[in-house]
Symmetry: C2
Subunit: 84 residues, 2 copies
């Protein structure tokens, strides 16, 4: 099984890395880029045999996203769990 | 329009950040996680009126992904261009 986690700065939080990338994109000749936000993407391979029940696994992954993979004060996460 | 860029370390490249996250996940009680890879995710808002022709825009975005947003020696990127 594969879990994909996207972690992005909240819309209300200033994203200086995104601003820097946007300015660089303008500089490289694409002024149409109005906003850039930069986040993290994580791909977690999960051993199906050891994973057990899917609902329980999903609950655990959400807990991991909150506690380890994102900072809930300034970031939002999105979890996707694939069959493969 | 929205462009979404995912940048991941190539499969053949060692990803020490991913290894650290995998070990932390094991530690937090999910030993079924067999591999973790950590990459970047970027969301680029594009002003439709200023963007011009879609094919040309896509070409420009691919050039930006290669030149600015990823390091082609050790990373692969994936570009998605949305209607909205």
């Amino acid at each position: 099984m594969k879990a994909r986690v996207t972690v992005m700065p909240k819309q209300t939080v200033l994203d200086p890395q995104g601003v820097a990338v946007r300015d660089a994109i303008h500089h490289l000749g694409l002024p149409a880029a109005s906003e850039v936000r930069v986040g993290k993407f994580m791909e977690i391979d999960i051993d199906d045999a050891a994973a057990g029940d899917r609902a329980a696994l999903e609950g655990r992954l959400h807990a991991l996203c909150r506690d380890l993979l994102s900072n809930p004060v300034i970031e939002d996460y999105h979890l996707e769990l694939d069959a493969r």
